[in-house]
């Protein structure tokens, strides 16, 4: 998989404005426009965007208890696993995207968000902010470094 740009060449605000839904831009920009964002920053922001990490407060949410059989999933972890599949493996799932050769950053965000949305039958827009965070993380770390760091044990 090849990117059209390196991390330093990307106009991050432009990518955010073009791709990320308005309701998610502030959270994404808060991380990506920082000079020294880390994977921990990305993880925290991504989990909050996807509802994996509720804000601590004195307000008790008054939905009903979620009932039996609820698995406490980490959707952001799933998104990062999809990114590993896309960028670091030769799996069939993303064979056509890899065959297309060099991809734009915006295309890659869309590919990842669409895949995640399809998995859960949810609009891809819901995952776009989190997908932007993951793709930028891959670019910042470098493809080889990201793949090595996230290889399954």
């Amino acid at each position: 998989m090849k990117f059209d740009l390196t991390f330093d060449q990307i106009d991050i605000p432009s990518v955010i404005n073009d791709v990320v839904p308005q309701s998610q831009r502030k959270a994404v920009a808060a991380v990506l426009t920082s000079d020294s964002f880390t994977e921990a920053d990305v993880d925290a922001a991504g989990m909050r965007l996807l509802g994996d990490m509720p804000s601590a407060s004195f307000i008790l949410p008054t939905g009903a208890p979620l009932g039996p059989g609820l698995k406490k999933g980490n959707l952001f972890a799933h998104l990062k696993a999809e990114a590993y599949d896309l960028f670091c493996t030769n799996s069939d799932v993303y064979a056509s995207e890899r065959k297309d050769g060099t991809q734009t950053v915006k295309n890659l965000i869309t590919i990842l968000a669409t895949a995640a949305g399809g998995t859960y039958s949810v609009s891809a827009a819901v995952f776009t902010g989190a997908a932007t965070l993951v793709v930028m993380l891959v670019l910042k770390m470098g493809l080889n470094a990201y793949c090595k760091a996230h290889a399954p044990e």
Partner: protein, 227 residues
């Protein structure tokens, strides 16, 4: 006083359920309300998880006496079309193509809503425990606040019960929806550690919150809907 609220919004406020496909059962998780004629609803984001299969149950509005628990129900599948966890709103779409009736000019805003205004809200408290009866309540708008995540919310002098999250908050004077019910103030914090009879201790107060409807309208516009 609340008759206009009931006639305008009661029928469009529904029970939101989590579907268990393996057992073909459902579990009520909160409330939602119709926000657009193309079959969209708004609810509170904290009610849902993105990996849930969701449905809604529409309860007919009746002036007759009714049982607490309905023996069976028709469930309409819905999917998540928008999700704003920070501001605690989510947009749902009824999967079966349908058009639904909605009142004209149904949405208000915080500029036209003054402190002390009488409001009303609709929801289905304790539906998970078998109370499948629509609940309509009134509350005075006592303050406008900013939540820990930066969301603008209305503080109300009412005790919202579990299951009412996701229902509409209506300005009685204007007849328009101004918020999405979210939660209540918990003196011991929102993560209780002591439970009696399955109910958390130290989380009751007559101070409740609704998130400003503007965040819901933003999700609707992101989904390409006219508001």
């Amino acid at each position: 006083m609340l008759q206009q609220l009931i006639s305008s919004y009661a029928a469009g406020t529904v029970i939101l359920v989590k579907l268990e496909e393996a057992t073909r059962t459902f579990h009520p998780i909160g409330s939602a309300f119709v926000c657009h004629g193309k079959g969209y609803l708004l609810t509170a984001a904290h009610i849902v998880k993105l990996d849930m299969k969701l449905g809604i149950i529409v309860q007919q509005v009746t002036t007759d006496f009714q049982p607490f628990t309905i023996p069976e129900a028709q469930v309409f599948s819905v999917s998540i079309a928008g999700f704003d966890a920070a501001n605690d709103v989510a947009l749902l779409k009824i999967e079966e193509p349908m058009t639904v009736g909605v009142p004209d000019g149904m949405f208000g805003n915080d500029a036209e809503t003054a402190l002390g205004e009488l409001c009303g809200y609709v929801g289905f408290p304790f539906a998970d425990r078998g109370l499948h009866v629509r609940h309509v309540a009134s509350a005075n708008l006592s303050a406008k606040v900013i939540s820990a995540s930066g969301a603008r919310q209305y503080q109300l002098d009412s005790m919202i019960h579990e299951g009412c999250s996701g229902g509409p908050l209506v300005n009685i004077r204007t007849g328009r929806i101004i918020g999405v019910m979210a939660g209540r103030y918990a003196p011991s914090g929102a993560s209780p550690s002591v439970f009696i009879g399955g109910r958390p201790v130290g989380t009751d107060s007559a101070i409740s919150y609704a998130t400003c409807i503007e965040y819901g309208l933003a999700l609707m516009m992101e989904a390409g809907l006219e508001v």
